[in-house]
Symmetry: C2
Subunit: 344 residues, 2 copies
């Protein structure tokens, strides 16, 4: 047994019951008064509120959850926090959620898949809902959520069954970038993608290819850069090693972190960016804006995505019958110095 949590030795923790006793009313009255039930007289409400403050009363969420079934906890499945994009997401997420009185239980923040045991923790804690950003939720975990009627919202992911989603219009972003490069005179592109498991990367590449390739321009190479710096670096080295006449004149990385790796590798091999080869990324992470990189990229509306995601989730927590919904938000190209620009 744990020692009782007391504010002072011998004095019992303030609960609704102690409050009720010292106010000379019933526990139910206190409960109602505290949540502003209009059926309690204003005078009583004020009196109890004052006593609560005075006694340092703190509601026990566990007890509330047990009887009401709502925990105020959201399960958060986050991609690798060391990827600056997820770090941005996390900051915004925590801030927005706090403003809505929601808290996150964070159950994943690294690379790789989520263990089932980790996913089950979500249900143990009776999370009201679950937010998934990019890292893949196993279908078993998703099934568990669906069966237990835990609403699922994915941010920055293509929706799956039993889930709502909000993401940036990735295909449109890819298209915009392709048009920009075409206008800049590029005709031979290499794509640094993030593998078949990344729905975002696939969409971006699809949009890019659609708008870039025709009878005068084409995709000359593709590399799997796994959404990490090292992957981009390896691809950059491979590109630098290509015979000069086969080399692409521009490079589209499906995320900035990949682009950064590629740029460093190209330069280490003596190639100039953008003079010898243009590089474009995606995401608009802060690191990519700094002088050594100054990456031309596509900004995802992170804050809006976070806000909409939380809204979708809140709505579904309140009304589980709501149908799944996906929302697509428009981003914008950010032109810096890593790619040759169109002539004015």
């Amino acid at each position: 047994m744990l020692p009782p949590m007391t504010d002072a030795p011998g004095r019992p923790r303030t609960t609704i019951v102690t409050l009720a006793r010292s106010a000379g009313v019933s526990a139910s009255t206190v409960s109602r008064a505290l949540k502003g039930d209009p059926s309690i007289s204003p005078a009583m409400r004020a009196r109890i509120a004052a006593m609560a403050v005075e006694a340092g009363y703190m509601p026990n969420i566990m007890a509330r959850t047990l009887s009401s079934g709502r925990s105020g906890l959201i399960g958060l499945v986050l991609g690798p926090a060391t990827n600056p994009f997820y770090a941005m997401l996390l900051e915004d997420l925590v801030r927005e959620a706090a403003a809505r009185q929601q808290r996150f239980m964070i159950i994943h923040a690294g690379p790789g898949a989520i263990e089932d045991s980790t996913a089950e923790a979500l249900l143990h804690y009776r999370v009201d809902g679950c937010l998934v950003t990019s890292a893949d939720l196993s279908s078993r975990a998703a099934d568990i959520c669906a069966r237990n009627a835990v609403p699922l919202v994915m941010i920055n992911r293509i929706p799956r069954r039993h889930a709502s989603a909000v993401s940036c219009d990735n295909a449109e972003g890819g298209r915009t970038i392709a048009q920009f490069l075409r206008a800049g005179g590029h005709r031979r592109a290499a794509i640094l993608h993030s593998g078949p498991g990344s729905s975002n990367g696939i969409e971006r590449e699809r949009g890019f290819t659609d708008a870039f390739a025709d009878d005068r321009a084409r995709i000359v190479a593709r590399f799997d850069a796994r959404s990490i710096y090292e992957g981009g670096h390896a691809a950059g080295e491979a590109i630098a090693a290509m015979p000069r006449r086969d080399r692409p004149d521009c490079l589209f990385a499906v995320s900035d972190i990949i682009a950064m790796g590629a740029m460093d590798a190209l330069r280490a091999k003596g190639l100039r960016v953008p003079d010898d080869i243009s590089v474009v990324g995606f995401d608009c992470i802060p690191d990519g804006a700094r002088p050594p990189y100054a990456i031309t990229t596509f900004r995802q509306p992170v804050q809006a995505m976070v806000r909409r995601g939380l809204e979708l989730l809140a709505a579904r927590i309140g009304a589980p019958e709501l149908p799944d919904e996906s929302v697509l938000l428009r981003g914008e190209i950010v032109i810096r110095d890593s790619a040759r620009r169109p002539r004015p």
Copy 2:
């Protein structure tokens, strides 16, 4: 095999009671069997375990917490996740905690102070303990934890009253760097610190100054870079603007992110690093290792810090009367190319 749809209309959710009924035993027996109480016969234990799996039973942590007083939740107060150092910390933290069946409720992950309402959420959720990394916990919040006997462990912070702490030996790190620079022939140092609120920065600077300054060498300037890239950048510009003869020959930034900003600014003004001025950082974040920076720095033993921190916390959760403890872990210098090295 997936669990049956326990939430199907009309069919009750699997609880200890439903389990007990269908096993023809009492709820207490099920409770004990499930946690491997040796006083339950092995046969019974096995039978109940099998039924639990078959029924897809998930314990309700809220109920368990209510009766046992232990939630398995740790409150996490994290510094700004967009600072790569905290991102590294977060990844390790979540991984280590999951292995110990602990989950984090994340209540802060941005810049700035923690709102009291946010801190109080910790208590509402009856967290077993609280882990604080760098971001300042208001003394009010700390008091609340102390009153409620919620153990507090700080990682990467100087301990405060009512808290244990684990951190890197910052002063020693500062000293090591100073010795390295002195050996490299540097005599005029500038310090880019992170303000009076950062105990780490203060320790690092103290160690550095102790080992650097004497009658042949001195600290020629100090700048408050607020632990952010932009702060380092501003300081770098100020240094570049100094008359040549007043300029420092080396620069100690109390964190890598500051050093990166400074390097970019110095170079933008035409100064070469390390030829015109050496730059050293602290933390060893991945970004600092990349070619444009290749920062000479001091590596904090992050993984060990995380592990020890969780150990300290677990011990105090089990035995709240344990005295506060601070542990200091030794880091190591990482020599790269941003600072002139000693002649062999």
